[in-house]
Amino acid sequence: MPDWRMLAAARGLSLPEDDLARVEAVLDELHAVLCERAAAIPLTAEPLISFRCETDEDAL
């Protein structure tokens, strides 16, 4: 599991202890599900991010 406290410090987020404890609990739970599921992702599965490369009518 990532060290959320260290990450917060590295990103310059000075969080109070109460906030850190709550952030840690939520992210640990979410990350556990993500890791378990991500382990089974087929290598060829693409992320579902919409990006359309369209013709550029202004191009020379």
Partner: protein, 460 residues
């Protein structure tokens, strides 16, 4: 009174738009200190617009069923010259010089905008207990929350202040307050309604839709605001249909899925009974009810939360040096999002595709799925947990279990009032369909609505 009923009276010259607007403004003035449904009321502009509407109708220029009807929009939709706060102190002084696409279309359809409704701060939460503009109260019981984040819109419609109010839905934010306030809430397909001019919470999960007093009214509004908009990259060119369902439509030939798993566990008393009764009513209208098994929606909800955490943190990152001006709950969510890695986010987006492909198999068996909108009726102000026989759950993830994952797939879903719980609080049934099946969902909802008693909150 519904939009359709008011529209008939307007055309029969038995009432004017100015009169309808004055009634709306009077009701807001009399009741809103108890509900806190509005952040900004635009009384003078509304009356001027109503006078124009009346003049146009008198001259024979009829803009359609919304002509002269008082409406509101959640305070995430920008409107020219009217401050748009997003429920945040950070945007308290933002006065845009343009209209959101939805506002443009409502104005073009002749609707009269009476104000901007209150919401959960930054549209990032489900209680609408806003620390800056006041906690929105539920018209059914003012000691309870209306739901969120479009809580002001739902409260305003339920309390009879406006005929319709627009909301936005990133993880249930139209359907949750609709269910807890006993009104109809429609989250259309992603791309069906333009997001242009809406202060975003999230890039890929935000949907715009109406909260209304009837299914027919929600359909009329969708017909007015739906359609391609080149200013929104995610806007769809899929043709706009006539969404208005016939009165008491037949559901002959429709296959409606009733989940056997997930959607009926850990639910409050009355929820299962109300939705199963709705299924029986659908059968009476001609539908066939098919038991279906849905995939792991709990895991889908977690993946959806990761995407929301990351995208919302990206949206608000430029304002994080002002996080001291945010409510604690919203600040914590944004901080969580900033700690996720790019790899976490992309893994979640890969799972999103796989999970959509898994869930969409249900559309080979049925035309739509019927579920409870929420596992519980409206919680009390300040409530943070749900108590079950086998343990407790945090309110936010617990209450959003049945609505959140659908946003990740962009599918349309509607919440319909389907009865009262043993305490007399409204419950909602959710109808979910495949992409761009809004007309069919509205037809199913209209058939159920015709067979269910109409709910009205106690007089304020």
């Amino acid at each position: 009174m519904t939009i359709r009923e008011a529209a008939a009276l307007l055309r029969a010259r038995r009432i004017s738009s100015v009169e309808l607007t004055r009634v709306a403004l009077d009701r807001i003035a009399r009741c809103d200190d108890r509900l806190r449904a509005f952040i900004t009321v635009t009384a003078e502009e509304a009356l001027a617009a109503a006078r124009r509407s009346d003049r146009e109708l008198a001259e024979g220029r009829d803009r359609g069923p919304l002509h002269g009807i008082p409406v509101a929009v959640k305070d995430v939709f920008v409107a020219r010259g009217v401050r748009t706060t997003c429920g945040s102190k950070i945007f308290a002084d933002y006065v845009p010089d343009f209209d959101a696409a939805v506002v443009e279309r409502l104005r073009a359809a002749g609707a009269v905008l009476v104000g901007k409704t209150n919401l959960h701060e930054l549209a990032y939460g489900i209680t609408s207990s806003n620390p800056h503009y006041g906690a929105v109260r539920n018209p059914w019981d003012r000691d309870r929350v209306p739901g969120g984040s479009s809580g002001g819109s739902a409260a305003a419609v339920a309390a009879g202040m406006v005929f319709m109010a627009m909301g936005s839905d990133t993880g249930g934010s139209i359907r949750i307050p609709a269910a807890w306030c006993g009104v109809v809430g429609l989250k259309p397909t992603f791309g069906r309604v333009s997001r242009y001019g809406v202060l975003p919470l999230d890039f890929s999960l935000d949907h715009m839709g109406p909260l209304a007093r009837s299914v027919h009214d929600a359909a009329l509004v969708l017909s007015a605001v739906a359609g391609f908009d080149p200013r929104d990259d995610t806007s769809s060119r899929y043709p706009v249909e006539d969404y208005a369902p016939p009165d008491d439509p037949s559901l002959d030939g429709l296959r409606i899925g009733l989940p056997e798993n997930f959607y009926f566990t850990r639910v409050a008393p009355g929820v299962t009974e109300a939705v199963h009764q709705a299924a029986q009513l659908a059968e009476q209208a001609g539908a066939v009810i098919i038991p279906v098994r849905v995939p792991d929606v709990a895991a889908m909800n977690q993946v959806s939360r990761i995407i929301l955490l990351a995208e919302a943190a990206a949206v608000m990152q430029p304002y994080m040096d002002r996080r001291g001006e945010m409510g604690e709950d919203v600040r914590l969510l944004l901080e969580q999002g900033l700690l996720l890695s790019a790899a976490d986010y992309l893994q979640a987006q890969r799972l999103r595709r796989l999970m959509r492909d898994e869930y969409r198999k249900v559309w080979r068996e049925v035309h739509c799925v019927l579920t409870p909108t929420l596992p519980i009726p409206a919680p009390r102000l300040g409530q943070t947990h749900l108590q079950w026989e086998d343990g407790t759950e945090d309110l936010r993830p617990g209450a959003t279990r049945f609505v959140r994952a659908i946003n990740m797939f962009g599918w349309p879903a509607l919440s319909l009032p389907c009865g009262l719980d043993p305490q007399g609080l409204p419950l909602g049934a959710q109808i979910i369909g495949p992409p761009f099946s809004e007309a069919r969902i509205l037809r199913v909802a209209a058939a159920l609505e015709a067979r269910l008693p109409r709910l009205s909150p106690p007089e304020l």
